[in-house]
């Protein structure tokens, strides 16, 4: 489902003496449907960089990044937008939303974009929010003023609203209490069971051990590391 081959990434900082920073070379990864692969490595090793390369908000300089038949490394904006709408979900660490939009609509949006009718989408969004213990009194409010943990749960609900065949999870359990952490881990297990291919970053070793089938240490993709 997700297949990376010989991916390289460099940053050229034009305004800082045109410094060229080679951050990754020869990155390879293969994730089958129903499988969860955890990215590991010290802070700065390139876990998030790899994740962003797959999502397409970082541009690869070489190699192929195939997600469900689309090569993100060479695809045009339109193909990537279509991929993100239907195939590739992303739970980031940050919630970025238009101010004033109610929480329930933010969570329902991926369903609407995939053609679900408005009532069914809101219904599904409500069930996810309830499962993640976001109080119903908050659903009609914008999440911009919510606590960090609440925002993260809104983000997770949104990421799981549509049954994406491929999912990227960036620290999904980072700021959650034990009860909600358990719920999120169950949701990840259910997503695997329905056949989702998942790439995740989990600093929480217990969570990683529980949901990940394999671990990939990204420091071996660092540019200059022995290939």
């Amino acid at each position: 489902m997700i297949e990376l081959r010989d991916v390289s990434k460099r940053f050229v900082l034009h305004n800082q003496g045109s410094a060229v920073i080679e951050v990754m070379s020869g990155a390879a990864l293969s994730v089958a449907a129903g499988e969860c692969v955890a990215l590991t490595g010290a802070s700065g090793a390139g876990k998030s960089t790899l994740m962003r390369l797959i999502y397409g908000n970082y541009r690869a300089h070489g190699g192929a990044i195939r997600v469900g038949g689309v090569d993100v490394a060479t695809a045009g904006p339109r193909e990537i937008l279509a991929l993100r709408r239907a195939t590739l979900g992303h739970v980031s660490q940050f919630l970025r939303v238009v101010p004033r939009v109610p929480t329930i609509d933010i969570v329902a949006e991926p369903c609407l974009l995939n053609g679900m009718d408005a009532d069914a989408a809101r219904d599904r969004a409500g069930r996810l929010l309830a499962r993640l213990r976001v109080p119903a009194a908050l659903w009609s409010l914008s999440p911009t003023t919510f606590s960090g943990g609440e925002q993260q749960r809104v983000n997770i609900a949104r990421g799981f609203a549509h049954d994406f065949p491929a999912l990227l999870l960036d620290e999904p359990t980072a700021s959650l209490d034990p009860v909600n952490r358990e719920t999120v881990l169950e949701m990840i297990e259910e997503a695997k069971a329905r056949g989702a291919a998942i790439v995740g970053i989990f600093h929480d070793a217990g969570a990683r051990a529980r949901v990940a089938d394999r671990e990939i240490d990204v420091s071996r993709f660092a540019a200059g590391a022995a290939a």
């Binding site: 305004n15 397409g56 339109r78 101010p99 939009v101």
Partner: protein, 256 residues
């Protein structure tokens, strides 16, 4: 599927100076594209060339019309282009006073555009005006008031209602949130996003506000000195800018 708007090699000079040059892109139905760049980078010149307010010196602007399919709007007859501007196109000015008739009531401002495309039934026009005032969150008790008496944010929302009432397919926006309070900006952004989604509009939004563009547009073009220096997915251009100027632009934003 054909692009709604297909721009090829567009250029405009002011004497020896470049207004914009070598601009090419395709805009697909339902897409929102942002154009960013500093003052004088040619964003507004480009927008005005696309919308037919300025005559470019070279290039083509092909619009997928309802009846004739793709037509170069630059070689279209003037009446045909004017008809397009009243029906399928809309233009939201930065300054609402440029896009509104200040001595005509709010309802009249909305109704005028419908009448321009042939609506004659007073009751239906007034009902449409009332409906649109509601959609842009203006109290319908204000329908007979003149926009001169409205706040800046209300005027901007009224301008949007006036533009969208005729069900356009392509909206040009020049700094739609410029000059407004941040709280009013947020409300307008939310409104625009909702309308774009609901009506399946395509839009081209010129702005210098990167936060606005991130929330409103999925595609982005960066201009400098009249030329497009970088374009792509909005989050890719903002998160991983490739061109020196884009890097400077992104790194210059103050964090709140």
């Amino acid at each position: 599927m054909t692009p709604l708007l297909s721009v090829d090699g567009l250029g405009k000079r002011y004497g020896a100076r470049i207004g914009c040059a070598d601009v090419s892109f395709d805009l697909w139905p339902g897409e929102v594209m942002g154009i960013v760049g500093e003052s004088g980078s040619g964003k507004t010149t480009l927008l005005n060339c696309l919308a037919g307010h300025l005559r470019p010196d070279e290039g083509r602007v092909v619009f997928d019309t309802r009846d004739r399919g793709p037509v170069d709007t630059l070689t279209m007859s003037e009446p045909e282009r004017r008809m397009l501007a009243r029906t399928d196109w809309a233009f939201v000015h930065q300054n609402p006073r440029d896009g509104l008739r200040l001595d005509v009531s709010a309802g009249g401002n909305i109704g005028e555009r419908l009448m321009a495309v042939g609506a004659r039934n007073y009751g239906a026009i007034r009902a449409a005006a009332t409906d649109w005032l509601g959609r842009v969150e203006i109290d319908d008790a204000r329908i007979d008031d003149r926009p001169r008496a409205f706040s800046g944010g209300m005027q901007q929302r009224l301008q949007i209602a006036r533009n969208l009432v005729s069900g356009p397919r392509l909206v040009f926006m020049d700094e739609p949130t410029g000059g407004l309070d941040v709280s009013v900006q947020a409300r307008l952004l939310d409104l625009l996003r909702g309308l774009v989604r609901e009506m399946g509009l395509s839009a081209i939004v010129v702005t210098h506000d990167l936060a606005v563009v991130r929330l409103l547009a999925e595609r982005l073009m960066v201009m400098k000195g009249g030329r497009v220096v970088e374009s792509g997915l909005t989050d890719q251009v903002l998160d991983d800018p490739q061109h020196a100027y884009t890097q400077l632009l992104v790194s210059s934003v103050l964090q709140v």
